[in-house]
Symmetry: C2
Subunit: 374 residues, 2 copies
């Protein structure tokens, strides 16, 4: 039996993809109504509670986690008892934007210029160094665009310091990018790695709205760049499982042609920008995450046609009961609707980029949803 | 919440396909270790026990079943309390080979010649009428080739009567067919119907071994014939859910070209010859069965490439842990291995018939399994 720290939609989709492999699951969550608890045994309690961790771990073969804010201490404690994947060091690095950037830098992976900020004076210094606009972010705990502010001038700086100061911060220089991409990489406990085709991602209000995979205008050259940088991270961390790296596509320096991929951040887990793989790839990210953790041969990451994944955020009418959309793959998470909350997603799988665009247009119309690219 | 009578692999795959739609499940099974009980609430008891049925039904929105030997009385009892799909009349007809054949005959659907047999004298009469070879079958309770014997001569007849007599029997005339096909049809509670492309099926020892979908040499003309006869059954029974009809492809009568499809038997449920649809069609038979029962718009039955579904029967080494086969979609049912038992299946999805054949050849080799067509 596999244990999952966190019983949200990612844990839910891990379990749903693992049952056909003959696996069984138990989840630990702070909520008694966690989405993964509908189809797996649920232990309800705090991640820091050793008694809870002991009863959760009892009889498990291995443990994984579905969100990166799992307390590192909990992962370490469990690592002392049984195999935990991804390794707790990946968790530690990805929980701190400074550590993350330093890792990218160490591995020669292009990243935005950055400086740690612990005081108002350090913020002023960093701004002089990196220039404006820059983005001030909390080093820990931010997600979906929370805990960050753009600084365009000194007045913004004072405001941002007032809003965010008091916890460790990082100032990141501005990256002039064409678009956001992500690479989903997977490394098995037994060594082999595999990589999904790059996805193109579109956010609004800091929340992922749409992923297109393979990314429009996908090239072998872009894929090779992404695979190469992801490999460095996988190897450095002796990683096991799925790792997501968010990337910016930027212009090559003057005098060179093509694009340069700049790493933005990483998540040591299955990732929203990989949900398309359930129907859009030969093997889903969820299945491959489990195979990796068990040391099984990985499944093919090859795309099956052209997929579009649309997040359902907030409140919706009865889905899919009230929608005539024969090619839509609905994924509802069993969560109560709430503004800004990811309650599900829909994946479309078409055979050409043109068909994908047309189907997507129809879906947005049916759902009365704006295209985030418009 | 949806209740499922029977907690075998079909119930398991129904639940797994329904969770992403935001549905929840409870199963009733006579075994405390039923495969669907790993991911859904399990009520453990006899289908005939009204107290058990009451506690099973409490709080459910509707009920379906996953095997056709559910006692009709149990389905009827539940029908008095809440919506049950498919209708109990479909269950009644499909549980009796004579009723089934009579239904096909009434609807003008080609079927093997047949005669009811209740005595040794009736068997002799029937043999004179239908000729040899014929097949003597129990009217009720047979599956996977059990409860039937081929009669080639009068000596066989005596033996067959000795082996099977004492319960209501049916003698079926021999059908000279090229191959076995099946059509999976689905009718929604709200009326609309949809049809999967014909699958070609290969049995050994009376057990399904391999389904190819769409069937090799699929033609629009064959599909139209199959859809037309399936529609008649759906309408006659005011059917709701997925219905499988097994067909023989036979030569057209002298002087005509093409093929004639002859109905063999039907199953008022999701069916082994439709498992390919999980990865091989836009919407799986399991999802469409649930959509149909809820009156939701049906998903597309369109094929996604060329699928092959290989049943895993009996005993196997650790799957998929020990097999490097990146394009294989494994489905294990969580059942203990036993000779002749369906413990899982593997689906391959390729883009051409040629690739499908090649992948299949590789899979049979890896699994050290004979090709049932060889």
């Amino acid at each position: 039996m596999i244990g999952i720290l966190g019983g949200g939609q990612l844990g839910r989709m891990l379990a749903l993809s693992g049952y056909p492999l003959g696996l069984q699951f138990r989840v630990l969550d702070t909520s008694g109504d966690a989405p993964a608890g509908h189809m797996a045994g649920l232990v309800w309690g705090a991640y820091e509670d050793k008694e809870i961790l002991n009863s959760f771990a009892s009889g498990l073969d291995s443990v994984t986690y579905e969100f990166e804010n799992v307390p590192v201490g909990a992962a370490r404690y469990l690592e002392g008892r049984l195999p935990v994947f991804p390794p707790s060091r990946a968790l530690e690095v990805s929980q701190d934007r400074l550590f993350e950037k330093q890792l990218f830098q160490k591995l020669g992976i292009p990243t935005a210029p950055f400086a740690p900020v612990e005081s108002k004076a350090e913020l002023t210094d960093a701004l002089h160094k990196l220039g404006a606009p820059s983005i001030l972010k909390t080093r820990r705990g931010g997600y979906d665009g929370k805990g960050q502010l753009v600084i365009k001038n000194l007045k913004d700086a004072a405001h941002a310091w007032h809003a965010l100061g008091g916890v460790p911060l990082i100032l990141e220089g501005f990256v002039n990018f064409h678009r956001e991409l992500s690479i989903l990489a997977v490394r098995s406990k037994s060594g082999p790695c595999a990589f999904y085709p790059l996805a193109e991602n579109h956010h609004r209000e800091g929340i992922l709205r749409l992923s297109l995979a393979p990314a429009p205008r996908w090239t072998k050259e872009l894929q090779t760049q992404a695979v190469s940088l992801a490999k460095k991270v996988l190897n450095e961390l002796q990683y096991v499982g799925v790792l997501a790296i968010e990337l910016f596509e930027t212009s090559a320096p003057k005098g060179k042609t093509g694009s340069v991929l700049v790493a933005n951040e990483m998540a040591p887990r299955v990732h929203n920008s990989g949900h398309w793989s359930i129907e859009g790839a030969q093997t889903s990210q969820f299945e491959n995450h489990l195979r990796a953790g068990l040391g099984w041969p990985l499944g093919s990451c090859e795309a099956r046609g052209q997929a579009a994944m649309v997040n359902l955020i907030g409140n919706f009418p009865e889905l899919p009961a009230s929608f005539e959309f024969p090619n839509a793959h609905w994924h509802l998470y069993g969560k109560a609707p709430r503004a800004g909350r990811k309650i599900g997603h829909v994946t479309l799988c078409e055979t050409s980029v043109k068909d994908r665009e047309q189907a997507l247009k129809g879906l947005y119309k049916a759902l009365e949803m704006p295209d985030p690219r418009a």
